[in-house]
């Protein structure tokens, strides 16, 4: 019997509003989402190419942990298959069980569901030295992912975790389960990056308090640029993600160039990294011109010029300072704030 080799990097993905364009703000949206077929479900442009590229890396593992009901497993698995996305782990929420037990608070609760699921996933497989997490701004993903990272890094003691779960209105058995998983999960400062997809277009300044590790992105080209800077993608892979976005017809070249400028303005991408990417892409264009040539795009040099112009038109003006290293966050206050925000969002929809 061979022991499974330890993964080098784990990518944990949420599904709804992170990978899949899902609406669940109203009962109508929920019903629509429940009856959609795999072919009806739409991934965000670039997300499929990004997931595939990440999975292709040696020792890379993809774990999907979603709040979608486990009754949708068949259709969601079919969607991933249609997209050619392979997941090593696929965890969904058993909402039917919550309904049958009369635990209606648990239906929408995110922290008491997702945090133990993340910890159990880490505890249940060979530990990776690095993790990158993908979520969105619709719910509490930023809080959950940072709490998970801080727990593993030992920045949040287990005694505090109980108070946080209480603030998150977890049921007693959920508290017990989370505490147990937190004890078992192998420790380490392993969460290297948290990517938050801004589905709601939330102000990016609200995420600065989470420190430089967490990067809010407007689209998956921005995510690809950040992961290129992290050394997890190469120039060709970034190019293919951009192509998928252009093919969706929801993005044009100038919009991708603006995405680059936005990251530079927010100090989430250094100009030398953008320059290095451009040079590497120029090499790709020279060595394998067929890779870059597309009938719907101008010659490579013109494309490159659009991007360099976006950087140049900032005229070297100092961008925002990079967010400082995050102090230990007050998670109880963050959870309370999230409850208030959720109530306000609900009122806004009414």
């Amino acid at each position: 019997m061979t022991t499974p080799t330890a993964p080098r990097h784990v990518f944990r993905w949420d599904l709804d509003k992170t990978y899949l364009r899902t609406e669940f703000d109203s009962m109508r949206d929920l019903i629509k989402s429940a009856i959609e077929t795999a072919a009806d479900k739409q991934a965000y442009p670039g997300a499929t190419a990004l997931l595939r590229a990440l999975r292709a890396g040696e020792g890379h593992r993809v774990c999907i942990i979603s709040g979608s009901p486990s009754q949708m497993r068949t259709v969601l698995a079919a969607k991933l298959k249609l997209d050619g996305v392979e997941a090593d782990e696929f965890v969904l929420k058993n909402n039917l069980k919550n309904i049958l037990r009369g635990r209606f608070r648990a239906l929408r609760a995110q922290i008491p569901y997702k945090l133990p699921a993340l910890l159990e996933s880490r505890a249940g497989s060979p530990p990776a030295p690095a993790e990158t997490l993908f979520g969105d701004d619709a719910e509490a993903d930023a809080i959950i992912y940072c709490l998970y990272a801080d727990l593993l890094a030992g920045n949040v003691p287990l005694t505090d975790l109980a108070r946080i779960l209480e603030a998150a209105r977890a049921y007693p058995d959920e508290v017990q389960r989370t505490m147990l998983a937190a004890e078992r999960a192998p420790r380490g400062d392993v969460v290297k990056r948290v990517i938050i997809h801004l589905d709601r277009r939330s102000p990016t300044a609200g995420f600065r308090r989470f420190g430089p590790r967490l990067v809010p992105v407007f689209n998956y080209f921005q995510a690809a640029l950040v992961l290129y800077a992290d050394g997890l993608l190469d120039a060709r892979q970034v190019l293919f993600i951009a192509f998928e976005m252009l093919d969706s017809r929801q993005y044009q070249l100038p919009i991708l160039a603006n995405s680059l400028q936005d990251l530079i303005r927010r100090s989430r991408l250094a100009q030398p990294v953008a320059t290095r990417l451009a040079e590497e892409l120029r090499d790709v264009a020279r060595d394998a011109p067929a890779t870059v040539a597309r009938p719907d795009l101008p010659p490579f040099d013109d494309v490159a010029r659009v991007f360099t112009d976006r950087v140049r038109e900032l005229r070297g003006i100092a961008p925002l300072p990079q967010p400082g290293t995050a102090p230990v966050l007050d998670y109880v206050a963050l959870v309370d704030e999230e409850h208030v925000n959720r109530r306000e969002r609900k009122r806004g929809r009414a």
Binding site: P203, A205, Y251, D262, R265, P319
Partner: protein
């Protein structure tokens, strides 16, 4: 894709409200790119605090800007990197499709004149403004009529007035979705022979050389009644008319405030009317309408009110995007070319001959 260049530093409430309006437009206006021109450090500090689509907002640095109370010609000459000039240059260079500014009106018009070309056949540009009226018009049920020129061209010839009529009609049909806007000349009597020579000559030209829905002359009192959808006059008259109408509105508000303070019975009367007054305010709110278009150039400029809030800026961007999507400048060019082709030199009446 509509690329709207916004002078982020122009306006009484700039740059905060301008950036807010642009941020909102980046989400609300489908398939648009908003190019904010101004101090990149300042704009880059405001944007992250707002809901917006960072991929649809682009920042173009400009190190200077024209103050609201500066003399336009002097400011433009002294500040070559002023945001309004850089914005106009971007449009001229094909980097943007239309421009929006809430800044110094004179400097904005001058920047367009310095950087853009007039549509062939158009000799003078016209600044159009909207005025709330009793009657509503078009598919959008707009409670506004369009008055042009409001100050871009102080003295206009008969041919200029005809061009203004074509431009105003094209704008009204596109933005208010009014298929056949009623066009009128502003004069001191409804008879064709009344008014200064240029107006009399323009009357004859509009009847003979255009297919506009020209309803003849209207008088000042017809403006608030909404008799015409597009009212044409020279910039001197238009400016005086608009300022007077604004003055009357302000006086009415002041009188209402006075009445509210003075007598209990008047106060009760005003309170009884309050919902109707609020409705009237909502209907005639200039912030809903976006701004005043500068017509006649090969590109479109929407001049938003100097006191524009974010909401007004968003609407100005929407109007600019809509006008560009509908090829407003192309419509005007074709309309002017048609009239020019019809006007044989022997048919142009001499001004003052009526």
């Amino acid at each position: 894709m509509q690329r709207i260049v916004v002078d982020a530093m122009g306006g009484d409430l700039a740059p905060e409200e301008i950036v807010k309006g642009a941020a909102e437009a980046s989400i609300a206006v489908a398939d648009a790119e908003i190019i904010l021109v101004g101090d990149a450090a300042v704009l880059g500090g405001i944007l992250p605090r707002l809901r917006h689509d960072g991929a649809r907002v682009r920042v173009h640095h400009a190190s200077q800007y024209v103050e609201m109370d500066e003399k336009p010609a002097e400011a433009i000459a002294a500040k070559p990197d002023a945001s309004i000039l850089v914005a106009a240059e971007l449009v001229a260079a094909g980097e943007g499709d239309a421009m929006v500014s809430a800044g110094n009106t004179g400097a904005s018009v001058l920047a367009c004149a310095r950087r853009w070309k007039l549509i062939p056949g158009v000799r003078r540009a016209a600044l159009a403004s909207v005025y709330p009226t009793e009657l509503r018009r078009g598919d959008r049920n707009d409670p506004f009529s369009l008055i042009l020129d409001c100050g871009a061209t102080i003295d206009a010839s008969a041919e200029d007035l005809v061009t203004f009529a074509i431009m105003g009609s094209a704008y009204a049909s596109l933005v208010s979705k009014n298929r056949r806007p009623r066009v009128a000349l502003l004069s001191n009597g409804t008879e064709a022979g009344k008014g200064p020579a240029a107006v009399v000559a323009a009357h004859q030209l509009l009847l003979e050389s255009t297919e506009l829905n020209f309803i003849g002359n209207v008088e000042g009192l017809d403006i608030p009644r909404g008799v015409a959808d597009v009212i044409v006059c020279n910039g001197f008259v238009g400016n005086v008319v608009l300022k007077m109408l604004e003055g009357v509105s302000e006086t009415v508000v002041r009188l209402a405030r006075y009445a509210h303070k003075e007598k209990l019975t008047w106060r009760i009367g005003l309170m009884a009317l309050s919902s109707a007054l609020s409705q009237l305010k909502a209907v005639t709110d200039w912030q809903q309408y976006g701004g005043a278009p500068l017509l006649g150039f090969e590109h479109l400029f929407i001049k938003a009110h100097g006191r524009s809030s974010a909401h007004a800026v968003t609407n100005a961007i929407k109007v600019a995007a809509k006008a560009h999507a509908g090829d407003l400048c192309g419509h005007i060019a074709r309309g002017v070319a048609d009239v020019t082709a019809r006007q044989r030199p022997d048919k142009i009446p001499a001004e003052g001959s009526a």
